[in-house]
Subunit: 144 residues, 2 copies
């Protein structure tokens, strides 16, 4: 079971933003994690559309969190960043081809498993990911 | 969040086997679900290696479940069929490039979410997927 690379990068840039606590540039993030600028640019743009980041152009420009880390719930965030990829095809009516959809008992079981997965994420916010005894080390590694 | 196509096909062929209750041919399964024979052949071979299916060649040959459906626990099965794709790269030491691995608090949260996901599947067996009031309809659609 895999989260999309899009979700992975979203979580990374938001954690960076939460640790930084002030405006930053995209290049800082690509350097900190060693990830592709091209892909990250799309992620930042989408996170701005979704209301997680604010971006300003120009000399005074940069990226900041659009709301406090404690108000960004991980369950909502990952549901937003996962978007369309259904756990299996029958969870998306647009792509389903399975003939037993509608009577299949597996779908209910997978649906419950997915709800329990997101229930754990719903109990945590972005703040929890950068909080605690490891905050100093994370800050040192990412922000230098 | 997505299961691999390999897991998806594995679940389908095992549900088919459980509904059939006797030896069957691969072509029956590809026809029933309208899926690729090429991909299904790999799935059947791997499920035989993993001890979920038995395959016999020759005129009396065919595919059968290697154990009763009530002894095939979905959590174990999906862990087996998912294999390597880690939920995010840091769950696989061989592919991790993230510099905050080891101090990142998100990893523990995602790990717990994944355990809760599999805990739901661990409460069910293959028998549960083909049992109950919808069994007759699933049998009609798949087996004709």
């Amino acid at each position: 079971m895999r989260l999309s690379l899009f979700s992975d990068y979203s979580l990374r840039v938001l954690m960076y933003a939460a640790l930084k606590g002030e405006s930053f540039q995209m290049d800082e993030v690509t350097k900190a994690y060693g990830i592709s600028r091209h892909h990250l640019a799309k992620v930042v743009q989408r996170l701005a559309q979704l209301g997680y980041l604010e971006t300003r152009r120009g000399r005074q420009g940069g990226i900041t969190l659009a709301k406090p880390p404690e108000e960004i719930r991980l369950g909502r965030l990952v549901r937003d960043t996962e978007g369309q990829p259904a756990i299996v095809e029958c969870f998306d009516p647009a792509t389903n081809t399975c003939p037993i959809n509608g009577s299949c008992q597996l779908k209910g079981i997978l649906g419950q498993a997915l709800r329990d997965f997101y229930a754990v994420l719903d109990r945590h916010t972005l703040k929890d990911t950068v909080h605690g005894p490891h905050r100093a080390r994370m800050t040192k590694v990412l922000l230098g």
